[in-house]
Symmetry: C2
Subunit: 149 residues, 2 copies
DNA sequence: CAGTATCCAGCTAGATACTG
DNA sequence: CAGTATCTAGCTGGATACTG
């Protein structure tokens, strides 16, 4: 010891940098919506439920309450674990409400909050960008991949 | 065999669903930008380079060319592997250009393309939403976590 | 300088089985 | 119906070492 090695300085930088990233609101948001199922659940509850990709009409769709099994059926590929996990996360973040009705077999319904709706609206921006530019990206990829197989 | 089991139908649904997701432009976009380093590289090349989080001025910043080592230094936490991987992916997608100058030790510089700039602009929408709403989310989390430790 | 190559630890998604 | 619990296989990111 004695000499402060460059490696040590580097390591410190990383820790600081990671700490910075951890509190960065944009990153937190990104970490949430990058989750495959989060966006899909949002879409399911947000109204653009049909399995058609776009339609692109401005109608935000009516945010409707859905039961666990309904969502599960709509998002055919989701596992129970992932669905529950996603719903819990969204509930925790105040994006959706979870309502338990003690009927004979319990009934649980989920609904978007204003905050959730707001997030859902925001994802429209993403979708619209994607629809406008993704073909360019795909074209670039094709060209790039052609060069050296 | 003989009876088409429900499980089989289910499995088929999943395959179809996954196939649908695979071609969905929004998902493709999300898969790209959900990558931690993609956004950071975009920001680095886009101009909002300072380690300050916001500033929130409308100045999109000048897209400037940067060398590999510059980016590496700016994004303190990135490993060479990840940086190279990210840069390659962005180049493949036509977001950035890679220019090799055969000087004594080779010099490689990266720069945003119009497409990349467009994507970078779009992420501003995300950042702005994050800054407007993330505190609400955080508050919700705190309340949620309080209930049952 | 700007990578490439390799190996490995850790996290995560999914399958499966069980329950109030 | 709406979950919870458990186990594991696979992917991903990081550390490390080497190169034109």
């Amino acid at each position: 010891m004695g000499t402060t090695s460059v490696a040590q300085k580097r390591a410190l930088d990383k820790v600081e940098y990671n700490a910075f990233l951890a509190v960065c609101p944009s990153r937190q948001l990104l970490d949430r919506i990058s989750d495959k199922w989060v966006v899909l659940v949002l879409c399911a509850l947000g109204g653009d439920a049909s399995d058609q990709d776009d339609a692109a009409d401005g109608t935000a769709g009516s945010a409707k309450a859905m039961r666990y099994s309904e969502i599960s059926r709509l998002l055919a590929g989701v596992s129970q674990k992932m669905l529950t996990q996603t719903l819990r996360a969204l509930e925790r973040d105040g994006m959706i409400t979870r309502t338990v009705t003690p009927t004979v077999p319990v009934t649980v319904s989920y609904e978007l909050t204003d905050l959730g709706l707001s997030l859902h609206e925001m994802t429209r921006g993403l979708r619209s960008w994607a629809q406008d530019h993704m073909h360019q990206v795909l074209a670039h990829r094709a060209t790039y991949d052609e060069h050296d197989v």
